[in-house]
């Protein structure tokens, strides 16, 4: 069952989503191919086809709290199989962008924090620095103990680099991040 809360006549998220991803959500006819192919739908409370329908029916910010928004692994099976050519994975990217902009509550696993930690190392070094990223994420989510038993083996096998990468063109990457922050405005 789909529940939609509509208290006012303010526009829902649909227009904003369509503007961001450039895909016409409105042509979805609920064939549910996206939901049957979605690897995480069976593990989440919401399904992609339901979210498409909710957008269609004028859902607002409450949709940004759906667990699928951040549980989505961006595998693009939905976009590949949609008979109407909707880029469903692009819709999920748009919902994530709106969730960040509008300060939606922290999802399970705090994926936005992981993404921030990942991109911060890229901004600093030009390339990903995995140990730095893992430390920043674990520190922020207080999940120090997860996977710690694997670290000695990973280090011994040279599967984790101890030192940050130094060969990247940091100047260009910093310019890109600076412009991305300007584009997103003060809240980013």
């Amino acid at each position: 069952m789909i529940t939609i809360k509509k208290k006012t006549n303010r526009p829902g998220l649909k227009d904003a989503v369509e503007r961001i991803c450039g895909s016409a959500v409105g042509v979805c006819f609920q064939c549910k191919k996206c939901s049957s192919g979605c690897p995480v739908a069976k593990l989440a409370k919401s399904r992609p086809s339901e979210m498409m329908r909710q957008l269609h029916l004028g859902a607002g910010n409450e949709l940004l709290e759906s667990d699928l928004v951040w549980a989505c692994a961006s595998c693009e099976t939905c976009s590949t199989r949609c008979p109407m050519g909707i880029d469903v994975a692009g819709v999920m990217d748009a919902l994530r962008k709106l969730a960040l902009e509008r300060g939606a509550p922290k999802p399970a696993g705090d994926v936005p924090r992981f993404n921030r930690a990942f991109l911060k190392t890229v901004e600093m070094f030009g390339r990903t620095y995995e140990i730095g990223m893992v430390a920043a994420y674990k520190f922020g989510t207080r999940t120090w103990m997860n996977d710690t038993e694997k670290f000695p083996t990973l280090l011994k096998k040279g599967k984790l680099a101890l030192l940050p990468p130094l060969g990247g063109d940091r100047k260009t990457v910093r310019r890109i991040f600076k412009q991305s922050k300007q584009n997103r405005g003060p809240q980013a």
Binding site: A71, T80, R96, F114, R127, S180
Partner: protein, 289 residues
């Protein structure tokens, strides 16, 4: 044959084995790979989940460098391959994005650098027959479950790599070097990708079902070409064993490691020691020639 080779960040850490085996195979086949100076991260999943501009300009910064070399760009990591091709598509299709990107790069980039996966070089430029002729050993009927995952095949309209539901390019390569490529249902299923740390629960469930079906099909190993697939399928076997008691012990090898073995390269030149689940069954089978 000369290409600009983009290693990608994981080549310096979790996927050194992919990087090492790519370089070794290229050397053995007379493929010249030139690393563009100062290459940087493609942004990966975190980039496009955050901001479209980041997702396009981070790859574009690298392709602009490759454009100066006047070579095709070759990528071994499926994730970088995907982000490069998508960025090219966005830049070529949207003049406004191209303009924004050009401002950040302080130079124009038109989205025209040809991006190829290393597998495409092996299949199309070197050719299966030539690879097969260069082999000193055979996989000896090793049962290989070829796992393409997501980022090599989707979105198909932009990547144009292979069929998105039943791709066969890895399978053809495995057959050419003497392996038996298995028919199994998880070739293009998702392993959970970048959720490995943040949603380990999701990754454990997805990899469990992939390993289960590969094991059921009788796989001696799973061949991959994406660092995220490799790490998730390899590393999470420990968690699956602890949580469910199922011990798969299926080696997760890069396709370049298998090709390298058959070209007569030593396992340590191909990064075999870096695998969490040892590939001893694979090594013994190939050595038995």
């Amino acid at each position: 044959m000369r290409y600009a080779y983009f290693p990608g960040c994981s080549a310096e850490s979790t996927a050194r084995d992919m990087h090492q085996s790519t370089l070794a195979v290229a050397r053995a086949l007379g493929i010249d790979l030139v690393e563009p100076k100062g290459w940087t991260c493609c942004g990966a999943t975190a980039g496009h989940q955050t901001d479209r501009f980041l997702a396009v300009s981070l790859p574009a910064a690298n392709m602009a460098k490759v454009q100066d070399l006047n070579l095709d760009m070759v990528v071994s990591c499926a994730a970088c391959f995907n982000r490069m091709k998508v960025a090219n598509h966005e830049i070529a299709a949207h003049p406004a994005i191209r303009k924004q990107v050009s401002e950040a790069l302080e130079r124009d980039y038109d989205g025209s650098v040809r991006v190829r996966h290393f597998l495409e070089v092996l299949l199309d430029d070197v050719g299966l027959q030539a690879v097969s002729r260069a082999c000193k050993r055979s996989l000896n009927g090793l049962k290989v479950a070829c796992y393409y995952g997501c980022l090599l095949v989707r979105p198909p309209k932009i990547l144009k790599f292979d069929d998105p539901e039943n791709p066969m390019s890895l399978d053809r390569l495995v057959k050419a070097i003497g392996g038996e490529s298995l028919e199994w249902p998880c070739k293009v299923e998702c392993c959970g990708g970048g959720l490995s740390l943040s949603r380990t629960d999701v990754v454990v469930q997805l990899t469990h079902s992939i390993l289960d079906l590969a094991g059921g099909a009788g796989a001696d190993c799973i061949a991959v070409s994406c660092p995220m697939c490799q790490v998730n399928l390899d590393l999470r076997q420990q968690d699956i064993s602890r949580q469910t008691g199922r011990n798969y012990r299926i080696p997760i090898v890069y396709i370049t490691q298998l090709v390298g073995l058959c070209l007569g390269l030593r396992p340590d030149e191909l990064g075999f020691r870096k695998l969490m689940v040892p590939a001893s069954t694979v090594l013994e089978r190939v050595a038995a020639n």
